[in-house]
């Protein structure tokens, strides 16, 4: 176990080495590797530990894994307000190519939470993914934008957090925790769920928010998981999401696809 963890490597990759990645090698069992696509903003930080645990679990079961941060997020280059959807999709493809390079080709699966799921699904073709496991994928981009706006509006008057309510000016260009841009807002408003036309599994939390409620044709294929991440709860911004049932469900579906 210790030797395996030592072999896990943090590194920068991609054009200009702008993207941060963490490679979890594994003894080749199936020839399949897994790309973990993170969610966006505060959700990325809340899911960090969960992604690490999933990566360990998958690597232990013989699936090499690459975790990475999009441009403008995590340890990758770029300011937070530089995060944009087209670049995010390009980063998925860059990360997929990097993973292929490191594990030597073969099939590639992806797991993503929230916008991470949408990114994997939308980039599936260019990244040449063979399957995607999505968790609380965003089905309605406009609802997500409304949710972030509403959370920011609650945040500024949260007297559990601030001594005095903050004026609009202090929060006008932000979503919880991060600067945003008009471009990203427009891009997310247009966001719809894309059927990748490849193997897919749809994990949903026990009480999904409006932005990730699955309609047809996905509803009949959804797999409920006993996890309550409280994506829309402004009191949960600093809370890490940890869930054994989610890890188990994600691992099981990825193993089945491998």
């Amino acid at each position: 176990m210790k030797a395996r963890i030592e072999a896990e490597l943090p590194f920068y990759f991609g054009p200009g080495k702008e993207l941060f990645g963490f490679y979890h090698p594994a003894a080749a069992v199936t020839g399949t590797a897994v790309l973990l696509c993170p969610p966006f903003g505060v959700e990325q930080i809340r899911c960090h530990r969960l992604y690490r645990q999933l990566a360990h679990s998958l690597a232990e079961s013989g699936l090499p894994v690459l975790r990475f941060d999009y441009f403008g997020t995590g340890d990758s280059a770029g300011d937070s307000h530089a995060f944009e959807w087209p670049r995010c999709l390009a980063d998925v493809a860059t990360a997929a190519a990097e993973l292929r390079l490191r594990h030597g080709g073969g099939r590639l699966l992806a797991f993503g939470a929230r916008l991470g799921a949408n990114a994997a699904l939308a980039a599936a073709q260019t990244a040449r993914l063979d399957g995607v496991v999505a968790w609380d994928a965003i089905t309605d981009g406009a609802a997500l934008v409304r949710q972030y706006d509403s959370m920011e509006a609650s945040l500024k008057v949260d007297l559990n957090r601030f001594e005095v309510a903050r004026p609009d000016l202090d929060v006008s260009t932000q979503w919880p925790g991060f600067e945003t841009s008009e471009r990203l807002r427009s891009q997310l408003l247009e966001l719809r769920l894309l059927d990748p036309g490849i193997a897919s599994a749809w994990l949903t939390s026990s009480s999904p928010d409006e932005a990730s409620r699955l309609g047809e044709p996905y509803a009949s294929r959804q797999v409920g998981v006993d996890v309550a991440p409280r994506w829309d709860d402004v009191n949960g911004l600093e809370l890490a999401i940890l869930s054994h049932p989610l890890l188990e469900a994600a691992r099981r579906h990825l193993k089945e696809m491998a």
């Binding site: 943090p10 930080i45 957090r161 911004l237």
Partner: protein, 275 residues
């Protein structure tokens, strides 16, 4: 900007990112410690933004995860948590020294990070300065007066209280929170005095998010007496900000403050070098 990721430490169990300025001179580097259980990027990416700002000013930086936090594993050594923290920060200083050549370090810690910065700064001679954000401090008579008096005199507070009595509001559920284990004030004061005697520069920053125990810049004197007059001590109270600097404007003000403080106490004598 030049950043490089490392696995390092006695047991190669630690993970961190070194940021280097364009020109590297032997001087002072900054090490950013975990804020509670938040991994090395910091709350809302605060540590990434701060590290890059300092790199652009000429200071090398290392943001890293201490043992068992973020991407770092356990060291496998049988050490108490305080011993492990010290060992981890020493490993971090060694890495930053190898990568940048700097031999003196400024520690930056928020909440439990402040506590860890304090304990390390107290025992390690290579620490030249520290930022303690929402670190040690304790409630004082002045704090209680400032907290309760306006509430007693506020009509709206009384209205809310009566309204609540009529319509009971569900209490906010208890959540795991960033907490600093209190060290007896007497010990904190003695240890700070020892650090100042060694010539350390110390910056204490408190946010409005910890008004429950610290609510005015003057309170530092109420807590630590004459230490407040020491020329190497500076104290700030960011009343508007919350504990984790969730608003980007608050983070920018904090970054500006840190950059200014560094420039004052560890000035860059020419591009990429600090005195």
């Amino acid at each position: 900007m030049h950043e490089q990721a490392f696995r390092f430490g006695a047991a190669r169990h630690l993970v961190g990112v070194v940021g280097l300025p364009p020109v590297i001179e032997h001087g002072v580097g900054m090490i950013l410690l975990n804020a509670g259980m938040v991994y090395r990027v910091g709350p809302f990416r605060l540590h990434v933004e701060l590290a890059r700002r300092l790199n652009s000013l000429g200071y090398p930086t290392l943001r890293f995860d201490q043992s068992t936090i973020g991407d770092s594993g356990a060291s496998g050594q049988r050490l108490s948590r305080p011993e492990q923290v010290l060992a981890d920060v020493r490993d971090a200083m060694e890495l930053l020294k190898q990568q940048s050549g700097c031999t003196r370090f400024v520690l930056f810690g928020l909440c439990s990070g402040a506590q860890n910065a304090h304990s390390t700064a107290y025992v390690d001679q290579r620490v030249a300065g520290a930022f303690f954000l929402d670190g040690y401090g304790h409630r004082t008579l002045g704090q209680r007066v400032r907290h309760y008096l306006p509430r007693l005199l506020s009509l709206s507070v009384w209205r809310q209280r009566f309204a609540r009595r009529r319509t009971p509001v569900a209490a906010r559920p208890a959540e795991p929170a960033f907490e600093v284990e209190p060290l007896p004030p007497k010990i904190v004061r003695a240890q700070l005095a020892e650090m100042l005697h060694r010539g350390l520069k110390l910056d204490f920053i408190y946010s409005g998010g910890v008004a429950r125990y610290f609510n005015h810049v003057r309170q530092f004197r109420e807590c630590f007496g004459r230490l407040a007059d020491h020329p190497c001590v500076s104290v700030s109270y960011f009343k508007e900000a919350d504990h984790t600097y969730v608003l980007s404007g608050d983070r920018q003000r904090l970054l500006d403050h840190v950059a200014q403080w560094m420039g004052h106490h560890f000035p860059i004598t020419r591009t990429g070098s600090s005195a």
